[in-house]
Point group: D2
Amino acid sequence: MAARKQLNIALLGHRFMGRAHSNAWRQVTKFFDPAAEPVLKVVCGRDAADLQAFASRWGWEETDTDWRRVVERPDIDIVDIGLPTYLHAETAIAAAQAGKHLFCEKPFSNTLAEAEAMLAAAESAGVVHYLNHNYRRCPAVVLARQIIDAGELGEIYHWRGAYQQSWLINPEHPIDWKLRKATAAAGPLWDLGSHAIDLAHFLVGDIVSLDCRMKNFITRRPLAEDPATQGEVEVECAALLTTEFANGALGTIETTRYATGRRNRHTFEIYGSKGALTWDMEDMNRLQFYSEADPAHARGFRDILATERCHDYVKNWWPPGHIIGYEHPFVHAAADFLDAIAQGTGIQPDFREGVRIARVLEAALAADASGGRVSVGGELAS
Amino acid sequence: MAARKQLNIALLGHRFMGRAHSNAWRQVTKFFDPAAEPVLKVVCGRDAADLQAFASRWGWEETDTDWRRVVERPDIDIVDIGLPTYLHAETAIAAAQAGKHLFCEKPFSNTLAEAEAMLAAAESAGVVHYLNHNYRRCPAVVLARQIIDAGELGEIYHWRGAYQQSWLINPEHPIDWKLRKATAAAGPLWDLGSHAIDLAHFLVGDIVSLDCRMKNFITRRPLAEDPATQGEVEVECAALLTTEFANGALGTIETTRYATGRRNRHTFEIYGSKGALTWDMEDMNRLQFYSEADPAHARGFRDILATERCHDYVKNWWPPGHIIGYEHPFVHAAADFLDAIAQGTGIQPDFREGVRIARVLEAALAADASGGRVSVGGELAS
Amino acid sequence: MAARKQLNIALLGHRFMGRAHSNAWRQVTKFFDPAAEPVLKVVCGRDAADLQAFASRWGWEETDTDWRRVVERPDIDIVDIGLPTYLHAETAIAAAQAGKHLFCEKPFSNTLAEAEAMLAAAESAGVVHYLNHNYRRCPAVVLARQIIDAGELGEIYHWRGAYQQSWLINPEHPIDWKLRKATAAAGPLWDLGSHAIDLAHFLVGDIVSLDCRMKNFITRRPLAEDPATQGEVEVECAALLTTEFANGALGTIETTRYATGRRNRHTFEIYGSKGALTWDMEDMNRLQFYSEADPAHARGFRDILATERCHDYVKNWWPPGHIIGYEHPFVHAAADFLDAIAQGTGIQPDFREGVRIARVLEAALAADASGGRVSVGGELAS
Amino acid sequence: MAARKQLNIALLGHRFMGRAHSNAWRQVTKFFDPAAEPVLKVVCGRDAADLQAFASRWGWEETDTDWRRVVERPDIDIVDIGLPTYLHAETAIAAAQAGKHLFCEKPFSNTLAEAEAMLAAAESAGVVHYLNHNYRRCPAVVLARQIIDAGELGEIYHWRGAYQQSWLINPEHPIDWKLRKATAAAGPLWDLGSHAIDLAHFLVGDIVSLDCRMKNFITRRPLAEDPATQGEVEVECAALLTTEFANGALGTIETTRYATGRRNRHTFEIYGSKGALTWDMEDMNRLQFYSEADPAHARGFRDILATERCHDYVKNWWPPGHIIGYEHPFVHAAADFLDAIAQGTGIQPDFREGVRIARVLEAALAADASGGRVSVGGELAS
């Protein structure tokens, strides 16, 4: 391991995703053997005091409040973008132009135009680019994909997905950046829907048309910066999509922040001609699998605890039956990303996937606005 | 009980629903004490031999192959319609005109026009009319309604429903009356969707607008009457709806005959400002209830086994913890229907509900055809 | 069917089990085609007024308050014993001596000596004798047995069983016949444990040794006949057994009336060298099956809804996915019992099984009394 | 934080528990703010090459192959014992005598005598001593204790526990240290049963008497050191206990390595006069809670996802609905242990708990040997 190449990381952002990413960079060399070694070089943010405390805690060598300076530092190999969505395009494009490999948090961008610019910048720079739809790297989701790839579902007929949270049922929850169009672009369609669409893309394929219905239930709320004043919520709080996939399957995707009792329920059901799968992020270690190949008297959804040696990633953690949690797929992503750089390969999902998701998201906005069915835009130029 | 009035029943149909209804009329006086006593007077069908065997088995006094003669018999009080949908309107209207009380199986009608004519006939005849959306009388569904009526869900935000079967994944399943437009009107939208919409109406309220996307996966199949010949399936096999309710809630309704592994899964999730409910017909005795009124440390979906003395209907069967099955809600409906006649009251759901459902179903067909959002038609005249 | 032999039944008892048995005799010819036809000839009980109402409701032709007279009537073919346990031996022996076929409710007897006498009487009379451990005829339990018989569990290592109710947590529940030794013999060990032991016998085999620990939590309660007076509860309210089976498997059996939240939870887990099964009476239509024969990546407990055409009994009721309830296995037993008489065969479980269970129950009492391990008595004479 | 005291740790052992403990010491300052800062000073083991690789990976400053030298180093504050059980007593006593605080993995000791000596050494040295029954620090288990302490279960009647694994169903699994008496003391009774007894102690209280039945299913296996040769398994592979608690509750504890399909299922059910709880380590983030205080129509086991801000420990990780995994309770223990040292308090479970568990384990061996009930030994001297 002594000869393993070191890669210097600059992290932009030090809130929720800053913690999750820092943890991933720290844990990856403990539980995995990536082909390169991450060095927590510099973390970047606006609030110098908070930033310093964050860096001390997580072991970042330096701090900086100027992201432009950071992304242009010649000693930096990787720019890890953990900022709010509206800051992704500018930072990612600058970093790509500076030749940095990109590890970018989701949602990818505020608009399709931004997404396309980000992809173009990354591709023309020839860097490794990764979009962190981390749920793809839950062992149970990897297993779902393997089962599908092995043909065990046959032809896929249905995707039934939902991503449900409930934090907006409290009318006192204030209007913060997530409830403003300029900063968040949209509501759960963006934040949660991008995850749901990514899994649908990963497991079923391209969405070619969709209907969408959006709504906001509590439209006026206190302002975060001035709780005595009420303001208007600028984004939807729920979005319902029906879709058709390129392979002919139908889909539903429901995203909401008003599903009382659901804290982070990201669930899908997939039905095919030979079998079916269901999964829920709140029980992320498990996959339910029904197979028509089972004998008729013994068919039923199998509750698979994906913690066996034969299940990807999880063997690096603990023995079978010992579950992992929310942050572990971030570590899996870090391992694969480091390998991709060291080995000169790509990693999925990449910025191309970000564009693919953005096409669907913008089509959904258009469908809701028009009240009619919308085709999802054409091919991606290679 | 000696003084209890007897009501003579004529049953039309002697297949699946004929059995379920016959069982209900026989069991109702054993487990309940309805205010009138049903007499299994005559069963009507086309195949005289089968019909006779059916009558012998179930205890029908007489048989007849001429439904018109039967519904006009002066000694008949109740006409119980267990025929395929396309025969409902003609028989129900004739029976109403003959002054018979009507117990009608679902789907109510093939068209909205038929539905309106059936309602008009029943109302002008002044008879008791009942539409057998039997799931309303599962004790767990009754409990759901009681919890909602008590305000324990608060304002309702979301309905997420699905009715999933899988019998069409077999490409050898032939084209029978259920796959032809003339006899079935539509596919699962009608057969399963009418149930789902009825529960949505019962628990949330009127649907005011909807989008709909329908599809057929295996379009050519052997003909039932000539298996060596392939024909075209005439109805959709899956229908996805998004809806808005009069009270502002959003909804999704998914119906399909291609959900591998699901045999008769009729499920809903309801989310409101104060609580949430989920239910599944395959576990029909249970209701899951989440309440924001629980202390913060102890909130979770409660798995209520609705077999307690305080739960409607079920106390008439067995002690707590002893579950009931598919046919029991039919018995509950029979009990309430007999009471309604004896006591001169109505019973829900009635033909008015049939019209209400038909409006939604026809709007769904229109929405699918147009690819756009459709408003559900206006008020019902009283 | 015209030629089908009729068998006249005398039912002793008209409470909970009287209802369940009456329902079974009525339903069996509707949903099954037994080789003989049951005639509800006479029901017998002590309270003439109640008895008459019961007979009218359920269609018993006659009533009688003298069971001895009834069991000796030459026109009676079957004596159905639905009385409290302490009355089983005397009535069953008399009926056997009168040459009647015996359908006997559980628990079989108050003592092993009674059980042996009942078996001897039935065998020497050459009648068909059946002990109604009805859970054996749940389709999911039948399936469990089939899976075991097919070798799909391999060598069985563990039985983990429990039968849990909660009606005694209320300290106001009075001392009735179930809490008195003379009438009930014991507490849940007898009432619930006999069921649990029967399933263990059915699915695993003979119990050869056991430990038992019994206890009573609330020892003084109001008297049923005089609620103002407190009396002493005479039987245990919980019994814990560990067992060894003849095939080498270990077992636990836990029975209690103090399991708050459990209303009628009768559950088992079985672990073998090749697979495992779990079941719960509160979800009686389902069986969970784990198989080592599944590919390593896709092993998990399958949740089998035992309502398919290939599952025994259930195909006579409704289509797949339509569940049955508590009373249905009684109907299955009635069908098999009528067939056994008409065809001159036996039916399981019979009185020999009653003796087998009684041996275990008495051994458990002895083990608890001694605080030490007890061998379960020797072979049954044939 | 600058002023936070540093505590130097010596870790003994570098296998499974060495990894889990190293991870805990690394993660604790990232997600918690312990009152002292752990320094990963030295790791100790026999295999110098492996040890060096381990130290490099996990960030231990030094390595040593002589544990005696290490525990006597004046710069060491904490000795963390992650060795096989049979090495606990000697190392812990030496470390205590050297004045080191003790963080000891379970099972505590091979014998009660060892346990008592360990406790005496720790107490006379006045050091902080902790026994790592980590499941106590799952947020859902903490919640269980809080619910019990608040009286929400009332008087406890039943504990039904099991700890089930399945790795011995493979007859090729060799005889290693876990299957030899000298090194492991016993089989799952020790390894798994100590955890189960600890939770029973934590949640219900002292066990005062017990029965025990042990067995070994596959008695001959290949030797780990010579797979061509078969040897005799020296320890049981399953142990069934029934117990009585000091507060009058009854209990069952089942431990096995032959529960096919169960990988690490550690589960309990607790029934009290006012409520009930169930939990399973394979779904460690959830607790099921039934309360008689709920209205009669809405009672059921609540499925609580213990990831809310009000749930202990978990708020330090991620937002509600984001689950944690197997290794997190180790981190919780590390945080509390560091606080205990810095604040001069104790931490539970400590070595006194180790003695309490050892008393039960030895009583179980005696009960199995005698085939009779055994009282669990007297009071612990203070």
